[in-house]
Symmetry: C2
Subunit: 178 residues, 2 copies
């Protein structure tokens, strides 16, 4: 932040609050410009005992495999956002089963919500963001070609929960990334 | 937003994306200024079969009763944020049991996460934000003096789950508010 978005001044200072939280403060008009983590919402899509993954056509992680997900928008709910992102990235309508995982990346300052979702049909559409869509057997997940830690967290815990026959919500974070 | 926070220009325009999402775009430098929902994290604190509520000393809803919660900060996880907010607003250390509810307010563009939490002791501290703390019996919740819809959603569903002896995660939104 170089300029105050309210008054246009460049008299922006960093202020530390509670010795931990950095705030951008405009000395000209006094506005505090808060920054907070963003929410990413998406699906862990299942079709006939397989996981649907999207190959990314854009950076970051271009060419890697990803669960369909993206930034939650204003004026939508978390479930609407998850279905919208799945539709945008695959062209598919999915049916949400339950919330499966919440993963905080403290490095990216993002909180990812993945809903377990049932894929109804495979009439998918590719686009600039998704250049390929494939179904992966549970024992053939391309672990070293997954785009983000949140994917690994969601898929690993899903496979674990299947082997243990449980239906938990998994909450984790990116300790390893830091 | 009156000025571009990157270049300081006041040549800010509203652009509609996908006919639904409003973006602030700076015509001078091309920066798109995204706005996204914020996360609020907090606790539904239980102490000996009672619910702990905080009376708000500040606006909005000054004088009304509230579950301890607040905006998630950068560089923390959802669980760290919930414990931090509970500590800040009550002075108490709590023990998280599980995620209880996720409530989207599309009016406020906030997503509230409430964790069911065990209160260890009642050695609380008041402050400007919390001017009173009280324990409420399950059959004596001050429904018409609760601060926010998200409190009603979290507490109602908690009492329902007790009566049904279930441990679900409740996901809801503010259809009524719109």
């Amino acid at each position: 932040m170089n300029f105050c978005s309210k008054c246009g001044s460049d008299d922006i200072h960093l202020k530390m609050e509670q010795e931990r939280f950095v705030r951008y403060v405009c000395k000209a008009c006094g506005t505090i410009h808060y920054k907070n983590p963003l929410m990413v919402v998406g699906c862990l899509p299942i079709y006939e005992q397989k996981i649907l993954l999207c190959q990314r056509g854009i950076q970051p992680c271009k060419g890697y495999w990803n669960l369909p997900a993206g930034f939650m928008e204003m004026n939508e709910t978390v479930t609407q956002g998850a279905l919208r992102e799945a539709k945008e990235e695959t062209g598919l309508d999915m049916e949400l089963i339950r919330l499966h995982s919440i993963y905080t990346s403290r490095k990216k300052n993002q909180v990812m919500l993945h809903f377990l979702a049932k894929v109804k049909d495979l009439d998918y559409e590719l686009n600039e963001e998704t250049v390929a869509i494939e179904l992966f057997d549970f024992n053939a997940i391309p672990w070293d070609q997954l785009a983000f830690q949140s994917n690994i967290f969601a898929i690993q815990n899903y496979l674990d929960s299947l082997s243990k026959n449980t239906q938990s919500l998994f909450i984790g974070d990116s300790l390893k990334e830091n």
